[in-house]
Amino acid sequence: MNTLITILFLVFAVFILVAAIMTVTVKNIVHAALWLISSFFGVGALYLLMEAEFLGVAQVLIYVGAVSILILFAIMLTRDLEGSQNRQLTPRWWIALLVPAALFGLLIVPTVMTHAWQLPPPPAGQPPSISGAQQIGTAFMREYLLPFEVAAILLLVAMIGAIVVAFEEREQRRRVLTLAEQVRLRRQRQQQVATLPEPAVSAVQPSEATGGET
């Protein structure tokens, strides 16, 4: 069974890497977005392999179901999609390779070196530490309450920001009135006109040819 798991892990890992590389190298930006979505799927598969079902499903739900759609919307609403004339590699590409590699190495090497790879198997009968949805929920409410609340407020702020950005004052909306509304409007205007002080006599003769409709 272990060999099967290892083989599956390798397959998924290769798939994720290939998808990620394709994301940054294809010329067509929509294709790049689709490769990105495949890499999301790959990560979700990895989570399932680790028996973190909740996380795997949440990964698919959030990344594939929401984030990718957002990305696709953003792409499709932009103009220049013919990325063929963009050069893939800039002249100073070796700097772009060196700096992120150094940063990545700075982060990963200590982690790999100090991690205990051979975990002792858990004592028999004990449920796994945090894997099921119930445990995650309990953890959210106990140990990780603060990050939970901060994340919630962050999402709320984002939503309010979206509403503010997209909000259109109702007064600024122009629309065509129904006949009943026109009648009401006309009556109100007549009342307003009636309450105004007497206007000065107009020197210009009103022409009779033009229609008297407002």
Binding site: L179, A180, R186, G211, E213
Partner: protein, 440 residues
């Protein structure tokens, strides 16, 4: 919570006219009541569509579909598609007289016809020889049916004419003919309105159509057979003195009765002299008929075929005409011209010279005599040699040993022509004789 208020109506006069605003006052809380009402309506339609069909529009629900071609809607009477020609069921005569009115009025000009002609005289007959309608160009306007004075062309209800035969939609008279019963079935009230006038006109037209001209092709054979039957049934009428040998024909029996009565009268009265023409028309007619029948009997062994039908009919017709003329002449007190006038007289007045030439009002009698003489001459020319007397064609029957020519198809026209010629010859002979008498 869910209340209905009275709808309030406000009325305003604007520059463009009055504006009415009706505020129906929607219920206070809209919780989907309208939606549920809509669902209920649709469900009722669904339920009724499973159980019944929609017959009339006032019944709102039910299956509306008519599964053509298994089910068909009943077409209204006034539905018109393409025209058809009508013919009478009993007599087989087509109502069309080829008056060309429909051809004239047809907007796309798809009607074509030719008038029937009398093959003997070449004159036009009120019947149609051939009739053609191009259905594919017909626009179903119905003007032809509207304008026909004889109600011969009517609009049919048939519309399933699809064909893959090129030219299959050009229909000739045989294809256009329908019996009147068919039209009566599809448009009863329309036919009832025009039936009397149409049949009356048909009767008039039938009289002017010789022989079988104007009979629908569908009915020609049956009509011919019927006429043969009629003739055969009428031929064996009994002799006036001989007892009736079971005559089946009503006319023959009637003739027999009349002959008996005439014979009785003849016996009672002295034998009429040459100038005392019997005033009893009926008796004369009966006598004529009886004589004919007797002669027919004698010639039965000679001529038994029905070929003599037409000749006989012609002769009878001539005899009737002569008798009529004689009656007219007798009514005016004409002298022995009467004897010459009706050449069908069997009374021994045949050898008296016709003095028709002296009386001017004997023109009709003369004409009849001429006709009869011609007929006799014709018959004599075709058959055996005719006698010197102004024997009519009917007389020629017994004197001729040979049966009338096989060309008995000569219709009454030929017979009349022969009778006319014979009368001419007789007149000439009579005139010569009179001259001779005068001379002497």
């Amino acid at each position: 919570m869910i209340t209905e208020t009275e709808p309030e109506t406000t009325e305003t006069q604007t520059t463009r006219g009055k504006v009415y605003v009706i505020d129906r006052g929607r219920p206070k809380l809209r919780a989907g009541q309208g939606l549920l009402t809509g669902l209920d309506v649709v469900f009722r339609h669904f339920r009724d569509a499973l159980t019944r069909k929609l017959e009339k529009p006032s019944q709102q629900t039910g299956v509306f579909t008519v599964q053509y071609p298994e089910e068909r809607l009943k077409l209204p009477e006034a539905f018109r598609n393409f025209p058809i020609l009508l013919y009478d069921d009993e007599t087989g005569h087509e109502l069309c007289t080829s008056c060309f009115q429909c051809q004239r009025i047809c907007p796309p000009q798809v009607i074509h016809m030719t008038q029937a002609r009398d093959p003997a005289t070449g004159k036009a007959v009120p019947a149609v020889a051939e009739f053609l309608i191009e259905y594919d160009a017909c626009m179903s306007c119905g003007l032809c049916a509207e304008v026909c004075p004889f109600d011969a062309i009517k609009m049919d209800h048939e519309f399933e004419f699809s064909t893959d035969v090129h030219g299959g939609l050009t229909i000739n008279k045989a294809g256009l003919n329908r019996p009147i019963s068919y039209y009566e079935k599809i448009a009863p009230t329309f036919w009832a309105e025009v039936k009397d006038g149409a049949m009356k006109k048909l009767q008039g037209n039938m009289k002017r159509r010789p022989d079988l001209i104007g009979v629908a092709p569908q009915m020609i054979d049956t009509i011919k057979a019927k006429r043969a039957e009629v003739a055969v049934a009428q031929a064996p009428a009994p002799a006036p003195s001989a007892p009736d040998s079971a005559p089946t024909d009503k006319a023959a029996r009637l003739a027999a009765i009349r002959a008996k009565a005439a014979a009785k009268e003849a016996d009672a009265q002295p034998a009429p002299s040459d100038d005392s023409a019997p005033t009893d028309k009926a008796a004369r007619l009966a006598a004529i008929r009886a004589a004919n029948a007797a002669r027919k009997d004698e010639a039965a062994n000679v001529a038994q075929t029905s070929d003599t039908t037409s000749d006989d009919k012609a002769a009878r017709l001539a005899a009737i005409r002569a008798a009529n003329a004689a009656k007219k002449a007798a009514a005016e007190g004409a002298p022995a011209s009467a004897s010459a006038a009706p050449p069908a007289h069997t009374a021994p007045t045949s050898d008296t010279p016709p003095a028709a030439s002296s009386t001017p009002d004997d023109k009709a009698a003369r004409l009849a005599a001429i006709r009869a003489a011609n007929a006799a001459k014709k018959a004599a020319a075709e058959g055996a040699p005719a006698s010197a007397s102004a024997a009519p064609a009917a007389h020629a029957a017994p004197t001729s040993d040979t049966p009338p020519a096989a060309s008995s198809t000569p219709d009454d026209k030929a017979a009349r022509l022969a009778a006319i010629r014979a009368a001419n010859a007789a007149k000439k002979a009579a005139a010569q004789k009179q001259d001779g008498n005068d001379d002497q």
